[in-house]
């Protein structure tokens, strides 16, 4: 199969490879896919507490070249966005940017899922951080 130049570029020079400490409160981690399907993506965001902006993103992917490129591209796009803006990234945007063929669309879907999972993890952590205070306030009221 022929790969697009952009897929090859991300495969040869993947952006933002690595990991953050997944227990940090300002880090959201999304891990999607399964080894038996041939694709596992781990995508992490680091959010600036004050501004609510994703200041850094990292990924690791087990999968084909298109899966690696989709997640590498996703980390590029995430940086500088607010969490709400990040949720607007659609798999079709990734398909178009990387010119993925139909058999590789699932790679872009997985990348979108990874973004959503990372944000969901981040938000769960934030709620837990806030939750004890709310309970206290409610008791007072």
């Amino acid at each position: 199969m022929a790969y697009s130049d952009k897929v090859l570029d991300h495969y040869n020079n993947p952006r933002n490879v690595g990991s953050f400490d997944k227990s940090a409160e300002n880090v959201g981690t999304g891990m999607v896919g399964a080894p038996e399907c041939g694709d596992v993506m781990k995508l992490q965001i680091k959010v600036n507490d004050a501004s609510g902006i994703i200041e850094d993103a990292k990924f690791k992917t087990f999968g084909c070249g298109s899966a690696i490129a989709s997640s590498s591209l996703a980390t590029e796009w995430l940086k500088g966005k607010t969490v709400d803006q990040a949720l607007e990234i659609k798999n079709t945007d990734i398909v178009n940017e990387l010119s993925l063929p139909p058999v590789k669309i699932h790679c872009s879907v997985l990348a979108e899922d990874a973004i959503k999972a990372a944000i969901s993890d981040y938000r769960t952590k934030q709620t837990k951080r806030v939750a004890p205070q709310q309970t206290a306030e409610q008791t007072v009221a």
Partner: protein, 404 residues
């Protein structure tokens, strides 16, 4: 050294220039129809066919009259299995095969199942070999045919063909073997191995594509077949159609070269294959061999590189032609059914690469491939969340994965 490097010799082999030289005169100069009995053009073609028939028979310990020419191994498999099933329908309707057979055998058996035949698909052990006791137990008084390949096209393991043949002979059941990967690579002898029918193709032994043969035993027992194509009654009535004389000359010459050079060639291929394996295993951790090491073709290697997906691996060695058991490109995302039959997890099956070393590969090429692969596996493992988790001591089989 020229790239790309071809290491996919299980899929097909390049044609040996000596084979081409033998074929060339039979296209324009000696173009006769070998069935033309009343002029010299036909006689010359017939002589060439007879010579090839003997060259093929000699390589497998058969008599020339037991060689039926076909278009290739898929046709040979179809003719053998359907031909026996039809011819011996009154005797029984049961066929035994194995889960790791080539699609030409499996799909032929499935077709027969639709027509009322019963087929047993023997599982294989972790090393890729069938269990002989299970074979014995599967044979019933309705069994007419056992079809088990000589060597597997994906993992290169050699089935215990001589024992299978012996069991079949004792039980009065015909034995067909798809011999395409083994013939010309290891010594095959239809009498020693008790083979009754065997599929052969030219393009896996440095001959041309589009020509093959079926060995059909003539005595003890005399095997009969129902022809699958109607026509002029060529090839003892088993396979009609004007013979592909240049192709047959090529198949014959390819067999003769294999027979002459096999002892030398086997040593050389084995040396290169072992060097490739040793180099990869000494530089990388968690490299797994798929299939038996002991019962294996000399030029064949199938390895899984844990935590790295096969297609991304192929992308990183894009100037090397090999195959992967991963099927990321297929709509089903199912990895190789052969590797799964060995009991491999889907993840390890997705991480597999098949190497098929051939007559024209050099040591320099093998060194280049090994070095390149080591770098790519290292790079992809840096990228792999699975490798990271494994290094943290997480048991990947106990993780509950999030997927549809």
């Amino acid at each position: 050294m020229k790239t790309p490097i071809y290491l996919d010799n299980h899929a097909t082999t390049p044609m040996d220039p000596r084979v081409l030289d033998a074929m060339v005169p039979y296209f324009t100069q000696y173009f006769g129809n070998s069935a033309s009995r009343n002029h010299e053009f036909g006689w010359i073609a017939e002589q060439a066919v007879d010579k090839a028939r003997k060259q093929i028979a000699d390589l497998i310990g058969a008599s020339p009259r037991e060689i039926i020419f076909t278009s290739g191994a898929t046709e040979s498999d179809n003719l053998a299995i359907k031909g026996v099933a039809e011819m011996y329908a009154e005797k029984g309707n049961h066929i035994i095969t194995a889960a790791t057979e080539h699609k030409a055998v499996l799909d032929t058996c499935k077709k027969l199942e639709k027509n009322g035949y019963r087929v047993t698909y023997l599982p294989v052990k972790g090393d890729g070999l069938i269990d002989l006791d299970m074979l014995r137990e599967s044979i019933t008084d309705k069994t007419i045919l056992v079809t088990i390949m000589y060597a597997n096209n994906e993992i290169g393991v050699l089935q215990p063909v001589a024992e299978i043949g012996k069991i079949c002979r004792e039980r009065g059941v015909l034995f067909h073997t798809d011999g395409v990967q083994a013939i010309g690579k290891v010594p095959v002898d239809v009498n020693r191995d008790h083979i009754d029918l065997m599929s052969i193709t030219a393009h896996k032994l440095y001959g041309p594509k589009g020509v093959g043969a079926l060995y059909v035993r003539r005595k003890n027992p005399r095997v009969q077949l129902t022809a699958q194509m109607d026509g002029g009654g060529h090839e003892r009535g088993m396979r009609s159609g004007t013979l592909n004389v240049p192709g047959i000359v090529g198949l014959g010459e390819a067999c003769a070269i294999c027979q002459r050079e096999m002892p030398e060639e086997t040593k050389r291929l084995q040396y290169l294959r072992d060097k490739l394996r040793n180099k990869l295993e000494s530089e990388l951790d968690e490299v797994y061999l798929n299939g038996s090491w002991e019962h294996r073709l000399p030029h064949s290697l199938n390895l899984s590189f844990a935590y790295v997906e096969g297609e991304s691996l192929l992308m990183g060695i894009n100037d090397v032609a090999v195959s992967s058991g991963s099927a990321c490109t297929s709509a089903t995302l199912e990895p190789s059914y052969v590797l799964k039959a060995l009991g491999l997890g889907d993840d390890i099956a997705h991480s597999s690469i098949r190497f098929g070393i051939g007559r024209f590969n050099t040591e320099e090429e093998i060194d280049y491939v090994a070095d390149k692969l080591i770098n790519v596996v290292r790079k992809l493992r840096e990228l792999s969340p699975l490798y990271e988790m494994a290094k943290e001591g997480i048991d990947l089989s106990k993780v509950s994965w999030v997927h549809d």
